[in-house]
Amino acid sequence: MKSWYVVFQSFFPSWKFFDDAGSEIRLSVRVGPSEIELGGWVNCLTPIPRTIKTIFINPQGAYLHAARNLVTRLSFEISDGDENRPEKIVEKTTYKIVKNLVRYQIADLKLASAPFYYQFRLSVSSMEHLSRDADHILMSSVYES
């Protein structure tokens, strides 16, 4: 019922914008023709476009913002979750939507054509040290498309 709370909360915002660069959360995916032949990890979300054309109407930007917010929400749910039962995360609505997002992006980015296998991961790295190794907070099972 967190969603009802979000609606209520929308009348009492925190007004925090870009206050701290903090960390970069990255959703990556790898795909392949079989469970044991998965390719290398690639970024699942493309960068938000910066063009004058999208200053007033920007559906692609809005979608990518929503996708990044979704991924951030999943990272919060992972850190708030039961450490002893990490498998519980796959039952969460947010996880299911992120899984849909991965599949949608594989098709959108033309990373594979059906049928294929895929696995995704969520990584967190400090914005100050993006080049350093990221901390992988979620590694999904391998799924069949």
Binding site: S3, P47, E128
Partner: protein, 260 residues
């Protein structure tokens, strides 16, 4: 200027209508991601409402299920167009309900701050117009002004207290974040720590000092012009296009309050 509060609220309502048209058009363009084979599928989202009453679940399903959400946004555009012609409070209430349903559809994770200010503006503009013969229009204008000024002030205050904003590091990181398309000019601009620190302090000063717009109408106009420029830049740099009309919709209230 002795403009009646309800006239100012009507102007705010029309700006909100423009915002609603933009939101509606964007959601229509995104119908593939809310469809049954998309990302935010109703079949998954529905599980968030298992404890709701049967009637509530039926209403939500009727409004938000896959293709229904597409039609809801067509309806949003139709109502918003009607508000542009005649800003009736009942129409604004419908826009508010559509907006809140949309928040549920995206599990509250669509456009962050602009969604929140949209909720506040739609609610208080509706209330002010419903009870136009009472003190409500004045209360609405002051409350909207408070929220808009506070949004700038608090965002600026938090930056002011953050070391990486004081030394310009944060602005460099945000401008070069891999979440956004790489632009050569930002690469070059952010190489200079002097420029980063200067830009940081310009942003902080603008946000923290924005409440000074209440001092008089000239200051209000200066801050609102700067605010418009600020939001246009943010729309380009960070893809926050919805913030333009959301915050712009609150400006008539600030101007009216600056005359008191």
């Amino acid at each position: 200027m002795q403009t009646e509060p309800h006239i100012v609220l009507q102007l705010i309502a029309r700006l909100l209508a423009v915002l609603s048209v933009i939101q509606g058009v964007e959601f229509l363009r995104l119908s593939s991601v809310t469809g049954s084979q998309g990302v935010w599928r109703w079949a998954d989202i529905e599980s968030e409402f298992t404890n709701a009453s049967v009637v509530t679940k039926q209403i939500l399903r009727f409004l938000l299920k896959d293709r229904h959400f597409f039609y809801l946004n067509l309806f949003r555009i139709f109502i918003a167009t009607a508000v542009l012609v005649s800003p009736q409070p009942v129409l604004l209430t419908i826009l508010l309900l559509i907006h809140l349903a949309t928040l549920l559809r995206w599990l509250g994770n669509f456009n962050g701050g602009s969604d929140y200010l949209t909720s506040i503006l739609l609610l208080f503009t509706s209330l002010g117009l419903y009870f136009s013969d009472s003190k409500m229009p004045v209360i609405s204008l002051w409350y909207i002004t408070f929220q808009v000024l506070f949004s700038y002030f608090k965002a600026g205050w938090l930056k002011l207290k953050t070391r990486n904003w004081q030394n310009g590091l944060a602005i460099r990181e945000f401008l070069n974040s891999p979440a956004y398309e790489k632009i050569q000019i930002f690469d070059r601009l952010t190489k200079s720590s002097t420029i980063n620190t200067f830009n940081s302090w310009v942003v902080i000063a603008f946000e923290v000092l924005f409440p000074l717009s209440l001092v008089n109408k000239d200051l209000a106009l200066i801050f609102m012009m700067a605010g418009l420029l600020f939001h246009l830049i943010n729309a380009y740099v960070f893809g926050l296009n919805r913030f333009i009309f959301t915050w712009l919709a609150g400006y008539p209230a600030i101007y009216w309050c600056s005359l008191r």
